[in-house]
């Protein structure tokens, strides 16, 4: 039977099977598994049925823990149920996994295996998550490729039904989950053939039902628990054989034969590597290569890791084996060895002692670690392991793939060793996220995979920035199946394309190029001019490798054809034209067919523009006649300035240019601690245009400074004397601040850190009276301004900061004189979250500790290489940390508890040392009023004096006090996170922390979706908005977190929207911090996931408030003491229809465009939500209430 052949990634390959074999699917987003849940939700929304003809019910839960609970319940009541997860998500499922297994419940969950956070979070792949479940009683089935993941999803389902042991099916996160490869697609008939409905029926018969009631989930005592626990043994004993039988049946059906342990290699192999996951494919291919060259080696791929069948493993091993290396993609510090290693050692021991081993003499067994967090695992590394086994005493507990110059555990390897098949074509593309390079390559690989006889593979590498991010695409295709789950190596690419000319100035793009290969460059310089514009290193490499060199001005073609910044189809067309994968005409026909397929439903205009781009591309493609000598006068730029700190130069700089793999262990901190304020060293120069100040028009309001998401536009007021050394083009004008008569004022932009979002220009209220299209700041091209403004920026930074104690910060204008201690993050251009964080850093940054929930803010706030939280000239700045996604409120509370306890301790010590320290100082410290900046400064001075005195006191208490004395200066705790955390996964903790009454400030950056994982619905998602996991438009209204928090009565609550009322936002931040109890600020954060023009983010905030969708309010419990109503409504009654706000956003529009009727229904309901909520708030705010039985009534607050 011939099956459909498709080119997809493993997430999709697995979802196709899981979706069709289940009835209930409980989902929650987590990278890299989110794609499976998203597809399931989309298919369900589209009404696609499973193999039994019913559309699976897909439900998003509040956390993976919740998803596991829902899975457990659905299984207990007889559904076929699944979920998809990874990493911390899987860890949250563990308690339920014990239960599900303990109850012998057939189920399969699919895991794209990902690193568990330790010294740092990593979204990438290894087996640390899966290994943390190996004790739960679930079967663990590993896949090593896209095809295997597709197949094993089915094999697992068939095996679980028969064995009653639940299955965790896993494959490597990113490397497999996101690798696009050509696979044979399992049809519905295949699925039906493998799933015995009788077994499903038996599962249903075991379900809880009041029609035949029983109890499951009892509590047991010492008398029977143990025996009952042992009762399941026969099922586990039977399981491996059941799996093998299912695999055999599958082989009969499809021709693809799997085993629990698959051996590949020489029949007389002496050296064998045992491992699982994608690395096994690399190992097997390398072994094959080495065998052809006479080596006696082999590889055992572990498919069924649990239940671990020692007998099957022994059967798989050749009798000739003398040395075994067991490779684990996980690390267990302090263990005797990593888990697979320990299992193999035990199995060999048992095999020998019980006589079922194929050999009589125990082989040498060593364990090694590889591939943590998707670290590359290449044939060179495999060879290094085989080579190590050749030694008399191979090293044990080694690592491979890194240079460990600390513990000296790493094996060295030859990076130039390559086993690439000469018939396979390898291509590497450098692009910007925004230029569509990856999309084009995904498309190309599909065309090659599905429209030609070639096999094809695509894998994509992204940096960690959300704006101006660099992407590297690795494509392979050829006549043989591609089993190479590793990146294309240096010197291995037949084709290298660089879609951004500027990359040549900082990245070594051509290191991938093979001698005689092809280099395609998107260049504004034509073929006859481009050579002299190239950096020396590039010229040298082109000449040395004898590369054929092509250029195209893709941006010109894109402009002509209305494609804007998207050069994807243009570069794709050039790739096909040059690479010759297909005859040119056919290639163009295929590209067009694919354009029609991809964009057709978005409208004819889109298709036509893309067609035009394809047609124009070839006409502009030029081959460069490569000169035979180097003419360049300039070299590649250094990644960071020479004056950067050593750590930045030596550790962070290589990461900035994709060379982090080369860093040895010693260059990295042992405990995950990194210096603050490193983002300033990474000059990304990503803005095409930057704001330029017009002092004549400027009213010095500070609004632009406040809204700048990247802290690149700043204002200072300073003494005119400083202008003496100002650069020639430095602008200055008289300050218009009543506090600063006779001073000068400058508004300055950092040209190299700006992202060009233009939010500042939108926020500027001052218009040029002679030309109203101009404001006090206007966008202008960056390149001609770069040098001049860089110099101005440096000078600007050298000017003194404003004296914090000298101004009242309660106005926007004044507050924006404060130095931001959050700058140049990698957030999206125009981000709606970061201005709030920056404001917080300005107001409280020198005394704040921040607990940051995982999400966008932890990524742009803490993802290497460089980080934005910084410090002032006194060396003070925000102390920032991220624990998890779910525990952030508790994490922050813990910080508060430390501060409260240590402050108390310090005060106790201080009192007891009053005689030695001096009564008056002690008294002043203990009674200090620290509500103002001036008060804090004075207290700092007192504490400094205290420390001086303590140093001279020989008393243990003085030593104790020295360590905690800084707590005598007031500290703020800010607990920061997105709505996914606050409304969903972390809500329980957030609620508890609010209830605790402790002085913490919780800032919810509410984008109304899980932004970081790509826009999945949260309980903050409003009714009528489309989001992933709410593909039909969210049917229920947004949870009113503010209202819930108000019910405590002692929680300060504010709902703010900077774009609607910046003064209100400022006030809320100041009040929240001043309130000596829990505070909650819910901040409207426009987001790229809303599908808006990000420049209009502030307008949307204003419309949200005007429509009533986002009423502004403050609930200040302090007012109760004044006999006032604590709730103050700060926005006016809704004045525009909700539609006028929401239909500016794609998240709402796309529903109207795809299902008008539902959109109308939901909009109507959403409009009613708004009205109802407004009435409710209004009544609450107007309420006159008796309090505390005092008999006096509280009037509505006047503010």
């Amino acid at each position: 039977m011939s099956r459909q052949v498709i080119t997809i990634d493993a997430n999709e390959a697995v979802a196709h099977v899981a979706y069709r074999l289940n009835e209930v699917i409980a989902i929650y987003p987590i990278t890299p598994s989110s794609g499976m849940g998203e597809l399931a939700d989309e298919w369900s929304a589209k009404g696609i049925p499973n193999i039994w003809g019913t559309v699976p019910l897909v439900v998003e839960m509040q956390s993976e823990g919740g998803a596991a609970g829902a899975v457990h319940g659905a299984l207990q009541t007889g559904s076929l149920c699944t979920t998809f997860t990874a990493s911390q998500g899987l860890l949250l499922m563990i308690p339920n996994m014990y239960k599900i297994a303990g109850e012998l419940t057939p189920a399969v969950i699919h895991v794209s295996a990902r690193t568990v956070a330790t010294h740092a979070l990593s979204i990438f792949g290894d087996h640390s998550d899966v290994m943390a479940t190996r004790q739960t009683g679930w079967a663990l089935l590993a896949s090593r490729s896209v095809q295997e993941a597709h197949d094993n999803a089915l094999i697992a389902q068939a095996a679980t039904l028969e064995s009653r042991v639940p299955f965790l099916h896993f494959f490597d996160g990113f490397r497999t989950s996101h690798e696009i490869n050509k696979i044979e697609f399992l049809s519905e008939d295949d699925l039906r053939a493998m799933i015995d409905y009788e077994l499903v029926s038996q599962h249903r018969a075991r379900a809880l039902s009041p029609d035949h009631p029983f109890i499951r989930g009892t509590a047991q005592n010492p008398d029977v628990f143990f025996q009952a626990r042992e009762r399941c043994n026969p099922y586990y004993e039977a399981c491996p054989e059941i799996v093998q039988k299912v695999m055999d049946r599958f082989a009969q059906l499809t021709g693809r034969q799997y085993h629990l342990f698959d051996y590949a290699g020489a029949p007389d192999a002496e050296r064998v590597i045992i491992l699982m996951g994608s690395g096994a494919e690399t190992a097997e291919e390398t072994a094959r290569y080495l065998i052809e060259r006479g080596e006696k080696v082999g590889v055992v791929t572990v498919h069924l890791y649990r239940p671990f069948s020692a007998r099957h493993l022994m059967k798989a091993l050749p009798a000739t084996v003398r040395k075994i290396a067991v490779l684990d993609r996980t690390k267990e510090p302090g263990a005797a060895g990593e888990p697979l290693y320990e299992d193999v050692v035990a199995a060999v021991y048992e095999g020998l002692s019980q006589g079922f081993a194929p050999f009589k003499q125990a082989p040498v067994i060593v364990g090694g670690r590889y591939g943590l967090s998707s670290k590359e695992f290449t044939p060179a590394m495999v060879k290094a392991v085989f080579d190590e086994l050749q030694k008399d005493q191979p090293r044990n507990h080694f690592t491979v793939g890194i240079e460990d110059d600390v513990s000296r555990l790493s094996l060295s390897y030859d990076p130039s060793f390559s086993i690439e098949d000469p018939q396979t074509v390898r291509c590497v593309f450098f692009g910007l996220g925004a230029d569509g390079t990856v999309s084009a390559n995904k498309n190309s690989i599909k065309i090659i995979g599905e429209e030609t006889d070639n096999y094809a593979q695509g894998y994509f590498v992204y940096d960690s920035k959300k704006s101006g991010s660099v992407t590297i695409s690795h494509l392979r295709f050829g006549p043989k199946p591609i089993r190479a789950p590793y990146l294309i190596g240096e010197g291995d690419a037949n084709f290298v394309a660089c879609h951004q000319f500027s990359f040549l100035e900082r990245l070594d793009v051509l290191k991938y190029a093979k001698p005689g290969g092809i280099f395609l460059l998107n260049s504004i310089y034509p073929a006859d001019k481009v050579w002299d514009e190239l950096p020396r290193e590039v010229q040298e490499e082109i000449i040395a490798k004898k590369l054929r060199f092509y250029v195209i001005d893709a941006y010109e073609v894109a402009n002509k054809t209305g494609m804007g910044g998207r050069i994807n189809t243009i570069m794709q067309t050039c790739f096909f034209a040059i690479s010759g994968v297909l005859p040119q005409d056919e290639a163009i026909a295929q590209i067009k067919k694919s354009i029609q397929k991809t964009y057709g439903k978005r409208g004819e205009a889109v298709v036509q523009r893309n067609f035009a781009a394809v047609d124009q591309a070839l006409a502009h493609l030029q081959e460069v006649k490569v000169p035979d000598k180097v003419t360049a006068t300039r070299t590649r730029r250094k990644p960071v300035a020479d004056e950067a700190p050593e750590f930045v130069r030596e550790t962070l700089a290589p990461m900035m240019i994709f060379e982090g793999d080369r860093l040895p262990v010693s260059k990295l901190p042992a405990d995950g601690t990194f210096p603050s304020g490193t983002a300033k060293w990474e000059k990304r120069n990503i803005a095409l245009e930057i704001p330029v100040w017009d002092p004549e028009v400027c009213i010095q309001c500070g609004k632009c400074v406040m809204v700048c998401p990247h802290a690149v536009i700043r204002q200072k007021v300073y003494d005119p004397k400083y202008l003496e050394n100002a650069p020639a083009t430095f602008k200055s004008t008289d300050a218009r601040f009543k506090e600063f008569p006779g001073m000068k004022y400058t508004l300055q932009v950092s040209p190299e850190d700006c992202t060009g979002c233009a939010l500042c220009v939108e926020a500027c209220p001052a218009k040029n009276k002679s030309q109203v299209g101009l404001k006090a700041i206007n966008m202008a091209p960056q390149p001609p301004l770069r040098e001049q403004e860089r110099e101005n920026w440096e000078f600007f930074l050298s000017l003194p900061e404003v004296d914090r104690a000298a101004i009242s910060v309660s106005t926007v204008k004044n507050s924006q004189l404060l130095e931001p201690l959050f700058e140049f993050s990698g957030a999206c251009a125009g981000c709606g979250e970061t201005p709030y964080l920056k404001l917080m850093s300005q107001l409280f940054g020198d005394r704040v500790v921040i607990a940051n929930a995982t999400g966008c803010s932890s990524i742009y706030g803490g993802n290497l290489p460089t980080t934005p939280w910084t410090f002032n000239r006194e060396g003070r700045g925000p102390a920032w940390s991220n624990s998890l996604f779910e525990d952030n409120a508790e994490f922050g509370l813990g910080m508060r508890l430390t501060i409260d306890k240590q402050t108390e301790f310090a005060r106790e010590l201080l009192q007891s040392l009053a005689a030695q320290v001096g009564e008056s100082l002690v008294d002043a410290i203990l009674k200090a009023d620290q509500r103002s900046e001036a008060g804090i400064r004075e207290q700092r001075q007192r504490v400094a004096l205290l420390k001086e005195r303590l140093a001279g006191i020989n008393d243990l208490r003085a030593r104790l006090l020295m360590d905690v004395a800084d707590f005598l200066v007031r500290k703020s705790v800010w607990i920061v996170g997105g709505d996914g955390w606050a409304y969903d996964i972390g809500y329980g903790g957030l609620d508890h922390v609010l209830a605790s009454g402790r002085d913490v400030n919780i800032l919810v950056l509410d984008t109304e979706v899980y932004s970081n994982t790509g826009g999945q619905a949260s309980k903050a998602t409003p009714r009528a908005a489309v989001a992933k996991f709410a593909a039909n438009g969210k049917g229920l209204p947004k949870k009113d977190l503010g209202l819930i928090a108000m019910t405590y009565g002692y929680v300060y609550v504010a709902k703010v929207a900077m774009g609607a009322n910046d003064q209100h936002t400022l006030k809320a931040f100041l009040e929240a911090d001043a309130y000596e109890g829990p505070s909650l600020i819910i901040a409207y954060s426009h987001c790229i996931a809303h599908g808006i023009d990000m420049r209009k983010g502030l307008d949307q905030q204003r419309l949200a408030v005007q429509s009533g969708a986002w009423p502004l309010f403050r609930y200040n419990p302090m007012l109760l003491d004044e006999g006032k109503n604590p709730l103050i409504l700060d926005s006016k009654e809704p004045s525009i229809p909700l539609a006028d706000y929401v239909y500016n956003e794609t998240r709402y529009r796309m529903l109207a465009q795809s299902d008008e009727q539902r959109a109308e229904l939901l909009l109507k309901a959403a409009q009613e939500d708004v009205k109802r909520r407004w009435l409710q708030y209004k009544q609450m705010a107007e309420m006159v209430m008796k309090i505390n039985g005092n008999g006096h009534e509280s009037a509505p607050a006047q503010d």
């Binding site: 989309e42 999309s439 994509f460 209305g562 409208g603 889109v606 109203v772 794609t1146 465009q1153 795809s1154």
Partner: protein, 335 residues
């Protein structure tokens, strides 16, 4: 009983009051209510070329933006399978309208280029529209673009569309043409079966506090009737097309004036937006009462009865009219 029947674009209409293109026809329910209120035909809201292109490009832009840039968020929106960014929703509404009402449905297309979008004309026909109204709504701002070129483009566009369809075609014009009769004649030659006079441009306003140009939508008044009235009176009998008067039709008397000038039908929207759809039946009632009072038997009788060629003093429609009005005004000032 007076006879209200009229013929417009070859369509037999039960009376001369037609609902012009407006948001009222955006929903099936609105179209039904228009029929219930007594209008004899409905011109659907306009399908805008510019809007279709813009919506399509905007949707593509926002679904694409940010995608494949960041490993955790390779996209930001689910794939919804289908989007009505093309004409499908519009066509479906025509189909449904044809199934649910018995009065003719006239499709309306707004565009100025001869691109692939004129295919929509054929699709509107296939969806069952009884006729098509082409709305030439374009503001030339390029000083290099001459009136000749612009008019030639319009005429070519009409000819192109004429080739696409067999149903009657009306062209809705703005009043801003230097030689309207000649242009009208050219349109008729290019295949237009009718002219709808006139389109109303929504003139933007200035907000002098925010220094913004703000869109401003002002509904018409009966005063605006006079511009189309004059031109219809002039064109009647000179250009071989049916004419519809649009702009300023608020009362039964307004309809009668339109007919007397030479229009086959009068089109209204502002009155219905202002007073509700039921205003249509009142207008018809007023018209009928007037005809009864003044003993008119049929609408046919009055069509063109006050056209320029039919009145005793044709010059009244020409420049003299303007001069006379001024004089009259001056006289009044003196007294």
């Amino acid at each position: 009983m007076v006879e209200l029947k009229t013929q417009y674009l070859g369509l037999e209409l039960k009376n001369p009051l037609v609902a012009s293109a407006s948001p009222l026809s955006k929903k099936l329910d609105g179209i039904r209510r228009l029929e219930d209120a007594g209008v004899s035909a409905v011109v659907m809201y306009s399908l805008f070329e510019e809007q279709i292109v813009h919506e399509s490009l905007a949707l593509d832009h926002y679904l694409t933006r940010g995608s494949d840039s960041f490993a955790e968020a390779l996209t930001y929106f689910p794939d919804l399978g289908r989007y009505n960014v093309g004409p499908e929703g519009y066509l479906e509404l025509i189909r449904k309208a044809k199934e649910s009402v018995s009065i003719p449905i006239i499709g309306s297309l707004n565009g100025v280029s001869s691109g692939g979008w004129i295919e929509y004309a054929r699709l509107i026909q296939e969806a069952g529209a009884d006729a098509l109204e082409l709305n030439l709504y374009y503001l030339p701002t390029d000083p290099a673009l001459t009136a000749e070129e612009l008019e030639a483009n319009y005429v070519a566009l009409v000819a192109d569309i004429r080739k696409q369809i067999r149903i009657p075609l009306a062209v809705k014009l703005s009043p801003f043409f230097t030689a309207l009769p000649n242009f009208a004649h050219k349109l008729a030659q290019a295949g237009a079966n009718g002219l709808v006079l006139f389109n109303r441009f929504y003139q933007p306003d200035f907000d002098i506090e925010t220094l913004e140009v703000v869109p401003s939508l002002v509904l018409s008044t009966s005063d605006e009737l006079r511009l189309p009235l004059r031109w219809i009176a002039i064109l009647y009998g000179r250009v071989a097309v049916d004419m519809a008067l649009s702009s300023g039709v608020h009362t039964g008397q307004d309809v009668i004036k339109a007919l007397m000038a030479g229009a086959k039908v009068a089109m209204t929207t502002s009155a219905l937006l202002k007073h509700g759809v039921k205003r249509a039946s009142e207008i018809l009632q007023e018209m009928q009462e007037w005809m009864e009072t003044f003993e008119y038997q049929s609408v046919q009788q009055m069509i063109g009865s006050m056209s320029q060629q039919a009145v005793a003093e044709p010059a009244a429609f020409e420049r003299a009219n303007y001069m006379k009005a001024l004089l009259t005004y001056d006289n009044r000032m003196i007294y």
